[in-house]
């Protein structure tokens, strides 16, 4: 920034700093607690900044033999869900945006209606469905139900609609097939929307707890969230606060690393999603 800052700039800056502090405080609190011995925290959580400190909580997590297997499960599920959701949402969105076929309005309305169905309402039939197909405790069971993602379809439909049709018509005149127009023109032009949807899907999949808890009953198929929860003792909220906090930090770490890598893309994805 060049030139002098006005009083208004200072006020905005102060407000942003304040908001950031409010936002960061609980996270800092969690991180602080995760380095404290559990027995001290049972008595009081008020001495965050004074010793004793300990790494025992993290050691306990890493000591559980399955933690890295759970992390791998989470990665497979999150990446699989992201890639497949992008594929499904893009294909369906392009179809809704650019083709006309009998029944399209009805189909689109149904897709939108799926928005209104809460997860809790379908979890039992979903469980039965996968039980009858004998698919529980597989990656397929963890990934497939999440691919029907109406918001993703809607997002891609709107995004493809906003691409000027003339650009695709020019490609048709350039001897591109319908598929090539999709693959070489529409898809590359939709990258910002793909990024938005991809990041959202990945985070959602990584943090997902309800469905994996229901579907993955064998410990070796646990995702990280379910696995970590399974390690908690009955009275964790009073006896194991430090351990609980260390789990939270540990589960959030990969996402944080990803965020640091893709920070620029995430910011533009979120901002672009808002401005579009």
């Amino acid at each position: 920034m060049h030139g002098r800052r006005t009083l208004g700039d200072h006020l905005v800056l102060a407000a942003v700093v304040l908001l950031a502090a409010i936002w960061v405080a609980p996270i800092a609190w969690i991180v602080g607690l995760s380095f404290k011995p559990n027995d001290e925290l049972m008595r009081s959580t008020g001495h965050l900044l004074s010793p004793p400190f300990t790494l025992k909580n993290y050691a306990d997590i890493l000591g559980a033999s399955s933690v890295f297997a759970w992390m791998l499960n989470s990665a497979v599920v999150a990446v699989g869900q992201t890639v497949l959701t992008l594929a499904v949402a893009s294909a369906a969105g392009y179809g809704f945006a650019r083709t006309s076929f009998p029944g399209k309005p009805v189909l689109f309305a149904l897709t939108l209606a799926a928005f209104a169905v809460p997860e809790q309402a379908i979890i039992v039939p979903l469980h039965t469905l996968f039980a009858e197909a004998d698919l529980h405790n597989t990656y397929a069971a963890l990934i497939l139900p999440r691919l029907a993602f109406p918001f993703g379809v809607l997002l891609m439909t709107q995004y493809f609609k906003a691409i000027p049709a003339e650009i695709e018509e020019a490609a048709l005149l350039d001897n591109a097939s319908r598929f090539k127009v999709f693959w070489r023109i529409a898809l590359p032009l939709s990258l910002p929307a793909q990024a938005t949807l991809g990041i959202y899907t990945f985070l959602h999949a990584w943090n997902d707890y309800f469905w994996p808890l229901v579907s993955a009953t064998k410990p070796e198929m646990y995702t990280l969230t379910v696995g970590l929860a399974s390690m908690q003792t009955n009275f964790a909220q009073t006896e194991g606060i430090g351990f609980l906090m260390a789990q939270a930090v540990f589960a959030g770490l990969p996402v944080l690393v990803l965020y640091l890598f893709f920070q620029r893309h995430i910011v533009t994805a979120v901002a672009g999603g808002a401005a579009k």
């Binding site: 000027p164 003339e166 650009i167 018509e169 020019a170 490609a171 048709l172 005149l173 350039d174």
Partner: protein, 360 residues
């Protein structure tokens, strides 16, 4: 190369008719300009030729082939869109090469064609840029370049100059005319701008509400407009139209008597005129000052090389006339005006035109 033939072409969007039984032949190497007001169906017609819109009825032939059922890419046409429609994520080089690579042309040949077209359009130094890094005029050239490399049988232009500023539009107009001399393909150019039509066309097709009003050379449509619509659409300022109160035959020629009493002895054969109300049409440059009917000056437009004077006759009808150079007249001044009978047109109630000499 080959000519373009439209035979009884119609287009309806649901119940709405946009193009109505239109037939036309555009000769090989011709520069045909479709001229008409916004919404008259020009783009629709062009898109039907390109294969981006289906026909409701009729046939389209290009060269020796019937093309109306072929896919857009197989028709041998290239189109330059109004908003250029460049591929935003590709460089200029990739934009121009996309169509060639899609038909499997070897890379070296593609490069050669791009280089050739780039030289012709003077965009050689832009080849590695993206469309977003180009000015409007440069994008326009790239869009034309993308069409040229394909060496199509026919070029289709949909108002390609309408997004350029006035100065650039005038320059590009001349360059397009030059381009047509160097790339002598059949060109179909669509515009609502009569100036573009007049400067570019070997033949103008004046359209109105999905129909052809007249086909002719620029001078033909200017001098002998077939209908009142064409007469009013072509020429700046628009032709004056004055109601005719009576027609008297003087020898074989008709003399029109206007509502305010002005007598205009025309060169139009009286016997050809139909019964019923007539309108007299006269261009601003064919109104003579200093004789004839009294009028009051209302607005004076100083254009430099000529002056347009908007006046009102005693019966209330408006009349614009042009004086070469500057004029000392001011709003409120009195003038006397006379339409030059040798250059006027008469129009019947249906808009049909009657000219001096041979009538169609």
């Amino acid at each position: 190369m080959g000519g373009l033939v439209l035979r009884n072409v119609s287009k309806r969007f649901g119940p709405v008719g946009v193009i109505d039984d239109l037939s036309l032949e555009v000769g090989e190497g011709e520069f045909a300009v479709f001229l008409g007001p916004s919404g008259c169906g020009k783009s629709t017609l062009l898109r039907m030729v390109a294969g981006l819109e289906t026909l409701s009825a009729g046939e389209i032939h290009l060269g020796r082939r019937r093309i109306d059922a072929l896919a857009p890419g197989e028709r041998g046409v290239a189109m330059v869109f109004q908003h250029y429609a460049l591929y935003p994520h590709m460089t200029v080089r990739q934009n121009m090469g996309f169509g060639l690579r899609n038909v499997g042309m070897p890379a070296t040949e593609v490069e050669a064609k791009i280089a050739q077209a780039a030289a012709l359009l003077e965009i050689g130094d832009l080849l590695d840029r993206r469309p977003a890094q180009l000015s409007g005029g440069q994008r326009q050239r790239v869009a034309i370049g993308r069409a040229i490399v394909k060496q199509p049988e026919a070029f289709l232009f949909d108002e390609p100059l309408s997004n350029l500023d006035a100065a650039l539009r005038a320059r590009t107009r001349v360059e397009l005319a030059r381009l047509h001399q160097q790339v002598p393909s059949t060109m179909v150019f669509v515009t609502h701008d009569q100036m573009e039509a007049m400067t570019l066309a070997t033949r103008i097709v004046v359209m109105n509400a999905g129909r052809i009003e007249q086909v002719g050379t620029p001078i033909e449509v200017y001098r002998r407009p077939a209908t009142r619509f064409v007469a009013g659409f072509i020429g700046t300022p628009a032709m004056n139209f004055l109601p005719v109160a009576a027609v008297e035959a003087e020898g074989a020629r008709a003399t029109a008597v206007l509502a305010d009493g002005m007598r205009v002895p025309t060169a139009i054969p009286a016997t050809r005129l139909p019964a019923g109300p007539l309108t007299l049409g006269v261009r601003a440059e064919h109104v003579v000052a200093g004789q004839g009917s009294p009028a009051v000056v209302e607005v004076v437009e100083h254009l430099g090389e000529r002056t347009l004077i908007h006046a009102r006759l005693q019966d209330g009808s408006a009349l614009v006339y042009a004086e070469p150079g500057d004029s000392a007249l001011r709003a409120g001044d009195a003038a006397t005006l006379q339409a030059d009978g040798s250059a006027v047109h008469l129009f019947d109630g249906a808009g049909r035109a009657y000219h001096a000499g041979l009538n169609p």
